[in-house]
Amino acid sequence: MLSTAPTAVLSLVHGRTENGLIRGAAMLSHVRRWIVAPLATLLAASFVLYTAVWLQPGNPLTLLLGTKASPAQYRYLAHKLGLDRPMPVRYWDWLTNAVHGNFGTSLVYKQSVASLIAPRLLTTLLLVGYAGVIITVLGVTLGIIGGMSPRAAPYTAGLNGLGVAIPGFVAAEALTAVFAVKLGWFPVLGTGQGLAGRLQHLTLPAFALAIASIAYVSQITRAAVSVEEQSPHVETARGRGLAGPRILRRHVLRNAAIPIMTVSALTVAGLLAGAIVVEYAFGLGGIGSLLVQSVSDKDSNVVLAIGLILVLVFVMTTTVLDFLQHLLDPRLRLRTAASWH
């Protein structure tokens, strides 16, 4: 006993220390993965965006002074707005202000970037959120039907092919021509007032934005469901006489959820950047159209703010996905833990 006691104590101490080290290392890994890496991505993105805007040809002061101002006027305004300073100095100024939550003023619109973006961001988020719901509900439903029913598969595949083939802009024009101009069910343009008004105004844009993605998510869902459908554990469940809906819910969808969730989330996040086409088609003032305009205007503060919002959404989406995947799939948790032994 005496001889084994110290060993046991030691092993206990070592075990605790080892577990603590593992936990600490895992924590460090999570910090690096979920905090440091996203911040580094944002920093790198901001520098790349700033440089890209700076390298673009043209003098943005033309937007303020027109084309008939004197060279002295251009020099005066460039100095007044600090545009005559070297690019690294301007970038550093922007960065230090941004760290303190100040994203500056729009060169073109002469108002704070935050106040310029906020109403547009709301429009875009509502549009993307609405489209996201449509994509998830219709895409996943169609995919499940296609994956579970061999008879329905050709029809869902046909619909998917059609959806993928229709560009957003064409969908926008067709939807408007039928549902807004001919039938008069929805407005042609504008964002509307109040929640009901906004939803009514955003219905056609959301469908136009969602069509191609519905098809994509549906295809992924169908493939994932088909694979799970033919897997041994589902065959076993069927052999055990379990009810169809229970098999679908517990054995098919749960395992198919990871690719479906990943694709759906990344697709919806991608819509944020891709909404520009639909925003333009329906005359919606969202951040997509503002971004394109600001790039053209060399309005760097606005470009950076919107660019970083887009990067942030992607970073957050992938981070949350990563987290959810760990939560949903015990194999991933085990693999992560095993990698520290």
Binding site: K110, V188, L189, Y280, V292
Partner: protein, 562 residues
């Protein structure tokens, strides 16, 4: 044409945005003397005003096809969308009429000598907040316009002082006579804002956050960035006949020409100016409203030699290049047959308008007729053959002629393609170079951005309805708009004399004398004169349809036609 909002980048006094308008020459001529009320069934209406406002409306929904204004601070609204809004919110000292004549507004003027202008302000004019308009507000507003951070400061180059010479009197003194200045006082250049409010707003003045304080027929009641604006009728407007006919105007910022057309047809919009030519066929057949072509207009398409050197340095090659262009066919093909060909550097609309007396117009039209006779046969097989010979004699042997155009502008791309095709017929090798909006805009005034270019094409407008504005810039030695460094002392003397005289007949004589000298150099040519294109839904009337809409309270004038 899809009218991308980026087109506004090429704005300014020489705004290069692809805009077109439609008319037949005869129709334009008939409308230039003033307004007219058209027959409602005409396919191509060319008028200065449309119908009459006989009653009031509860609301009007209007679109700005060039999108959300970046500012509504008047001296910085030198563009279609922002100027329209400013003109409905603020009062200029003088009033611009649809035929481009001017009349008193919040001020009457007298000119005791060529170097002095005295404005006597109307009493009882109040800003939206109830404060009376005083000479201090006017002095501040004009000095603000003249400050180096505005787009119109160059128009004050001849101004020596602006002073309040009484509670309701402002005197402007000049270093040199300036015949264009008075006209500018009827535009956004001479709009009056409340000094106290403007000083408080500081750098935010004119933005959605800072707004403005004016005295016009409408008050800005909301501006949601990216969404829209609401204008509400000013119940205390100083001029009862000028009261807004519509209680509220909702302003939309849609820039997509297709959805604008659909919204007009669906009745979601009551109207819009600056309709895209691409949507004309669709809107022409709409049965719920009328497509109208407004005249007079200051919009035109120019093709300019971009630099003093290069392949077009040879006068023969330059002339040969212009000889290949069929201006009538261009107007028809690219602008649906509704723009009119123009045969001089001066655009027809600059002298065929209500600001010129008949005697002056006669001088211009006689001179114009000679150039028209000469160039009408250009762009035909005979002209191609002659151009080929002339180019060859000028030393041309197939070098590329680089033609710069605005990237993303379908109509300009089509125009450039037509020019390229015609030039090929004469053996001239035109290469099209689409430029990004900002660089394209910069190229219009900065030689650095024109390096390597031989020709620059774009749509331009004059603010003043006078050839003196563009010609004065293009032929002054050292001016950024004198792309070819053209210098002729007689031309300069005539232009300077035109600036100095307020006698418009004498101005016409001097400008046509200069024209006779500079035209054969082919530095720049206006190829097409546009009219303003607008759409108005049925049941509405009183709309200004000429290009003067930009500087008139044009939305306030629209009311119920019944």
């Amino acid at each position: 044409m899809n009218r991308h909002r980026t087109e506004r980048l090429s704005r300014g006094w020489a705004a290069c945005a692809a805009v077109a308008a439609l008319a037949t020459l005869a129709a334009a001529c008939s409308s230039s003397s003033g307004s007219a009320t058209p027959a409602a069934t005409s396919a191509n209406l060319v008028v200065g005003t449309y119908g009459a406002a006989k009653g009031n409306l509860s609301s009007l929904t209007w679109d700005l096809p060039y999108g959300e204004p970046n500012t509504i601070d008047p001296p910085n609204t030198a563009f279609y969308n922002s100027s329209l809004i400013a003109a409905n919110l603020c009062d200029p000292l003088l009033r611009l009429n649809p035929n481009y004549s001017i009349s008193p507004n919040v001020a009457v003027y007298r000119q005791p000598n060529p170097l002095t202008l005295v404005f006597n302000l109307r009493s009882g004019v109040k800003f939206w907040d109830g404060s009376p308009m005083t000479s201090a507000d006017v002095v501040w507003s004009l000095q603000h316009s003249a400050s180096p951070s505005t787009a119109v400061a160059f128009l004050y180059a001849n101004v020596k002082s602006i002073t309040a010479t009484g509670p309701l009197q402002v005197t402007v003194k000049f270093k040199r006579p300036d015949s264009l200045f008075l006209f500018e006082m009827a535009t956004f250049v001479g709009m009056v804002q409340e000094k106290r409010f403007a000083e408080r707003a500081g750098s935010k003045l004119g933005s959605a956050a800072g707004k403005i304080m004016c005295s016009g027929p409408y008050e800005l009641t909301s501006w949601t960035p990216g969404t829209g604006m609401t204008l509400t009728a000013n119940p205390h407007y100083w001029s009862p006949p000028g009261l807004a006919h519509s209680h509220t105007v909702h302003i939309e910022f849609d820039t997509n020409s297709t959805s604008i057309a659909q919204a007009l047809i669906a009745g979601q919009l009551n109207g819009a100016y600056e309709i895209s030519p691409a949507t004309i066929p669709r809107l022409r057949s709409a049965d719920n409203g009328k497509l109208i072509f407004g005249a007079p207009s200051q919009l035109y398409l120019t093709l300019s030699v971009a630099r003093p050197t290069g392949v077009l340095a040879s006068p023969d090659v330059r002339k040969a290049m212009f000889m290949t262009i069929n201006r009538a066919a261009l107007a028809k093909a690219a602008y649906f047959g509704a723009a009119i060909p123009n045969y001089t550097q001066m655009n027809v609309g600059s002298w065929k308008n209500g600001s010129w007396p008949a005697a002056a117009q006669k001088i211009f039209s006689t001179a114009y007729a000679g150039f028209e006779r000469q160039k009408k046969s250009w762009g035909t097989p005979a002209a191609f053959a002659a151009a080929k010979k002339l180019a060859s004699a000028g030393g041309y042997h197939g070098q590329p002629i680089v033609l710069a155009t605005l990237a993303g502008d379908a109509t300009l791309a089509q125009v450039a393609g037509l020019i390229q095709g015609w030039a090929r017929e004469a053996g001239l090798n035109v290469q099209i170079k689409p430029m990004q909006p900002l660089a394209y805009s910069n190229a219009s005034y900065n030689a650095k951005y024109r390096a390597g270019l031989d020709l620059l094409i774009g749509v331009t407008f004059n603010n003043a309805p006078s050839p003196l504005e563009p010609i004065g810039l293009a032929y002054s030695p050292g001016n950024p708009y004198n792309y070819t460094n053209y210098h002729n002392p007689k031309v300069v003397a005539d232009i300077n004399a035109s600036h100095a005289t307020s006698n418009l007949v004498e101005q016409a004589r001097l400008l046509t004398a200069a024209q006779a000298i500079y035209e054969p150099a082919y530095n720049s040519q206006t190829l097409v004169q546009f009219n303003e294109i607008m759409f108005l839904t049925n049941g509405l009337g009183g709309a200004t349809t000429s290009f003067a809409y930009m500087n008139e309270p044009s939305l306030a004038l629209i009311g119920s036609a019944k």
